[in-house]
């Protein structure tokens, strides 16, 4: 059943994390009968176990709904749910590029937060029509009128257009759908034109190969058609096209304005590149779509299998994961301490955590991640400039002319009581104050220019704890800036452990070294031998701590009835040790490699 273009809508739901996007999406699916109530589970669109467990959305998801509006027409609404966390703003940008409108969800008690603003800016960049919704109006601390005023003053959307809703209680669902069909423009494409479809996601299916998520902007896509990927130049024959309801459902065709998927016996991950344009080989479009801004990883860390034999498995797992996580980049890395692994680039710390957890769960790997670092640009005396995303690869200081580090503009939104705390924290973290703006609803928007390296080191947690959880943060990379930086090395039992090296601000290096040694002492379990831990800057030891040797580990009784229990106990301890990485004679737990993240 094909819907005429003027009755088609493509929308996203955007919001700051935890403001209720996914619950609202659930209600829309339910209200339109896309998912029968008996099949309704919470977070229908979150397909990863991890998403449901953590209650967050990581991947954008697409679904088609049919809605019979008050004007008597039945509309086809394509909905793309998006993640809210700053790490995944790239996913949001991809989703928005495939839409004509966006439902903006703002929590009735939290009000506008940093990512609300960031997402609105992205939506406006894509020329999307915004339908503002104040959600969670049923909560006792809700103040919907105040939030409505904020939306008008801060974002500039008329207060009359704001819809009050409670996704949990199903309040406002119909009003939202009516606003969508009324306000969001229909797609402008021509089903008869040469095909132009934007790839916004892809997924690997063990039976079907690669499933490519697309939005058709011009023309019509049908099974049997030979398609051309305009960036890669590869061509394929389409086996199946379909829509998400929310499960994959084949259809006869997808035409301009529609969102769906295609399967074309694509086997190689790289042949279905997100942002590429799909066209008809026989009648190609004149030009490719602009695609997406190239995603730049912000933080880098090594991922190593604790069992060296899992290296090949890790490689294959990364390949598969990269397919539907375009933001993930990796290249082989060898560490003297940790062996063979991969240097991976991530969008942020949450992204890194999620990737490691997905690799471990979905591919049955046991991994060790090193502390994340940013990418530095090092200017050498010979005039060359090299990127350094691994502290251990920092050249000898004698060869270095200057080191530049990535800088961000950090936007903090916080109630005025905590402004002092936020400024103090940001200054400690080498932040340069840029601006401060008071908004209605006791809300202050503060902007700082600061090193990204400071942000990834525990800044967000500190921000939250020093504002009793009220502060929200968004940041954007703005360029590189020269800084006075040195490498801090760590020696465990006399040998340098490359994976523990970090690049730090020179003025804080000695203090950081001491804190790191102290912290490692508490994290490295007692071993058979005494283990000295030293921190060094340029070969000079600046701190030393010692993990005393294990004193006693002996069971007094081991008689006939005790053997099974004792064996199982020791086996279990041994299993636990698998999470430790043996470096020389010392077993180091994962947490030790992350110690540098929280030295304050």
């Amino acid at each position: 059943m094909s819907t005429p273009t003027h009755l088609t809508r493509a929308i996203s739901v955007i919001a700051h994390v935890d403001h209720g996007k996914t619950t609202l999406s659930d209600r829309l699916l339910e209200y339109t009968g896309t998912v029968a109530q008996r099949d309704m589970v919470e977070q229908v669109l979150d397909q990863l176990d991890l998403e449901r467990e953590r209650g967050i959305t990581i991947k954008a998801q697409a679904v088609r709904m049919l809605y019979k509006a008050d004007d008597g027409n039945t509309y086809q609404i394509n909905l793309i749910d998006t993640p809210g966390h700053v790490d995944f703003s790239y996913e949001v940008s991809r989703a928005l590029a495939a839409c004509d409108g966006a439902i903006l969800v703002v929590d009735a008690s939290q009000g506008i937060e940093a990512q609300t603003l960031a997402n609105v800016h992205q939506a406006l960049d894509h020329h999307l029509k915004i339908v503002p919704v104040v959600n969670k109006i049923d909560l006792p601390q809700a103040n919907p009128e105040l939030v409505r005023e904020e939306i008008e003053k801060v974002i500039g959307l008329p207060a009359e257009s704001v819809i009050f809703a409670s996704a949990r209680q199903g309040i406002g669902t119909k009003e939202i759908l009516e606003a969508v069909v009324r306000e969001v423009p229909p797609p402008t494409g021509d089903p008869g034109a040469p095909l132009q479809a934007l790839i916004f996601d892809a997924k690997f299916d063990a039976y079907r190969g690669i499933v490519t998520y697309i939005r058709v902007l011009e023309g019509t896509l049908r099974p049997g058609m030979r398609i051309l990927m305009m960036q890669t130049g590869k061509s394929f024959e389409v086996d199946e096209v379909g829509i998400f309801r929310p499960d994959r459902t084949p259809v006869e065709d997808l035409s301009a304005g529609e969102v769906g998927y295609l399967i074309a016996n694509i086997r190689n991950v790289r042949d279905s590149r997100v942002g590429d344009t799909v066209t008809d080989e026989a009648r190609p479009a004149a030009a490719a779509l602009p695609g997406y801004r190239h995603v730049t990883p912000m933080v880098f860390a090594g991922l190593f299998p604790t069992d060296t034999e899992q290296y090949q498995q890790l490689k294959e797992a990364l390949e598969k994961l990269q397919l539907n996580d375009a933001a993930l980049v990796y290249e082989p890395e060898t560490s003297a301490a940790l062996g063979f692994g991969f240097r991976c680039g991530f969008l942020g710390l949450l992204h890194m955590e999620i990737v490691q957890e997905r690799l471990e769960r979905e591919f049955n790997l046991t991994l060790l991640g090193t502390a994340p670092t940013v990418e530095y640009r090092v200017k050498l005396r010979n005039g060359e400039e090299i990127p350094v995303d691994n502290p251990d690869h920092l050249p000898d200081p004698a060869e270095i002319e200057a080191i530049s580090e990535p800088m961000v503009t950090a936007t903090i939104v916080v109630p005025s009581t905590y402004v002092g705390n936020m400024m103090e924290l940001s200054q400690e973290r080498r932040g340069q104050f840029l601006n401060m703006q008071y908004e209605p609803g006791d809300r202050v928007v503060i902007t700082y220019r600061m090193p990204l390296a400071e942000i990834i080191h525990d800044y967000y947690d500190q921000l939250k704890s020093r504002s009793k959880g009220y502060a929200s943060l968004d940041y954007e990379l703005v360029g590189f800036e020269e800084a006075s930086l040195v490498k801090l090395d760590v020696l465990v039992a006399g040998s340098p452990v490359d994976a523990l090296s970090m690049i730090v601000d020179r003025s804080k290096a000695q203090q950081q070294g001491r804190r790191l040694a102290e912290k490692l002492k508490t994290l490295i379990p007692r071993q058979l031998y005494e283990v000295p831990i030293q921190a060094a800057i340029g070969g000079k030891i600046v701190a030393r701590e010692t993990v005393p040797a294990m004193r006693k580990d002996v069971t007094a009784k081991c008689y006939g009835g005790d053997v099974t229990r004792k064996r199982k106990l020791l086996e279990k301890q041994k299993e636990g040790k698998k999470r430790l990485k043996r470096v020389g004679n010392v077993e180091i737990p994962q947490e030790a490699f992350m110690a540098v993240l929280s030295l304050d």
């Binding site: 580990d553 002996v554 007094a556 009784k557 006939g560 053997v563 099974t564 004792k566 064996r567 020791l570």
Partner: protein, 382 residues
């Protein structure tokens, strides 16, 4: 299956379950003793007909408190044991609480065929006995040893506990000295171990009781070892010392990885299969369930596990290294041996290994080294 020459019989009854004890023991169920003895007798009979067992070289009646059995009940059980076949000179041990060691009992046990008495002295210090919730005094315990010896037991063991809060090194050595003065042939000195599922475990968890630190415990341990060696008792297992010719043959069988049959509630058995695998099985723990199941089905099995030859060798080495004269049980682990020798935990001569002093202190680290890594359930799935 390798022929079985050792039998363990469990008696799970106690007048009072001490707060540190996590054995399979129950207070206030003494009324169950008569049907329990019947059930135990029945299980011994059946095992005798079904398993390649006997003649028995060692029998160990442990608990709980087996000395709560009357002499007649011990005799009844021993008659069933004899039906399996008791080797000439077999070692037959009974564990006894000092409170039960009276002249008539001693006479009755000897008459029933018991020839080794293991007495739960634990301590002679009044504060320690109170803390440990023992119902006898130090004097009772000394009197019990004397009564056993006077009544005719030529092979007597005393169980002692060290590392008890409030008992300093001198007081602990006084206890040891007084027990040695009674001329025991065998002595077991155990570090008081906090088991989580006990009242002591709870008291330690909640901070009500603090345990001595590792240094103090080890000081008491090594001081006792020196004193016992000087008295002519050789340190032959981590917690056991004996005069020449008086090592506990029953426990040696376990440590040397020989098979044994266990009868009674919660008792464990170990069988060596012909293909090198080891089978372990255990009975239901509760006396009620044991009695019921034994009378209905002549069996009281609760669970079993079979270890591959590889895992069995690891287990044998894990237990074997506890024997301080050395063991050949680690011969299949050259790499682990080299590592442990390098770490100063093992000494090696002639394919035998034995724990160093440091190795004794870290014996679990040594034992664990021989265990084969078993895939976790998560990995097995993949």
């Amino acid at each position: 299956m390798e022929r079985i020459h050792s039998l363990y019989l469990h008696v799970p009854f106690c007048t009072w379950v001490c707060k540190y004890c996590d054995f399979n023991a129950y207070a206030v169920l003494e009324g169950l003793i008569p049907p329990y003895v019947e059930a135990l007798s029945h299980e011994i009979d059946i095992a005798g007909t079904e398993l390649p067992i006997g003649p028995l070289e060692t029998v160990f009646i442990g608990g709980g408190t087996p000395s709560l059995l009357t002499a007649a009940q011990v005799r009844q059980v021993m008659e069933r044991v004899r039906a399996i076949g008791l080797a000439p000179g077999a070692e037959v041990t009974l564990e006894a609480n000092p409170s039960n060691i009276t002249g008539p009992n001693v006479e009755g046990w000897l008459a029933a065929g018991v020839n080794r008495l293991s007495i739960g002295v634990q301590s002679l210090q009044p504060d320690a006995l109170r803390f440990l919730e023992r119902l006898h005094s130090g004097m009772d315990a000394i009197a019990a040893i004397q009564a056993a010896r006077a009544g005719g037991f030529a092979d007597v063991n005393a169980d002692l506990l060290f590392g008890v809060r409030g008992v300093n090194l001198a007081a602990w050595l006084d206890t040891l000295e007084a027990v040695l003065a009674e001329g025991v042939q065998h002595l077991s000195a155990y570090e008081l171990t906090v088991e989580s599922a006990t009242r002591l475990g709870q008291e330690v968890r909640t901070g009500l009781v603090r345990m001595p630190d590792a240094d103090d415990q080890l000081e008491q341990y090594w001081a006792a070892a020196a004193r016992l060696e000087a008295a002519g008792l050789a340190h032959y297992e981590i917690s056991n010392w004996a005069q020449p010719g008086y090592r506990c043959r029953h426990n040696l069988a376990t440590w040397n990885y020989h098979p044994y049959l266990g009868c009674g509630a919660g008792a464990h058995s170990m069988f060596r299969l012909d293909d090198g695998r080891t089978k372990r099985r255990w009975n239901v723990k509760g006396p009620h369930a044991y009695i019921k199941q034994t009378s209905e089905t002549a069996r009281a099995l609760d669970g079993a596990e079979t270890l591959s030859p590889e895992r069995a060798r690891g287990e044998a080495a894990m237990i074997g290294v506890r024997l301080l004269d050395g063991t050949g049980s680690a011969r299949d682990f050259p790499e682990q041996r080299r590592h442990l020798v390098g770490a100063g935990l093992l000494r090696e001569d002639n394919h035998q290994v034995r724990l160093t002093r440091r190795g004794v202190e870290l014996a679990n680290q040594v034992g664990a080294a021989f265990l084969v890594e078993v895939a976790s359930p998560q990995q097995r799935k993949g």
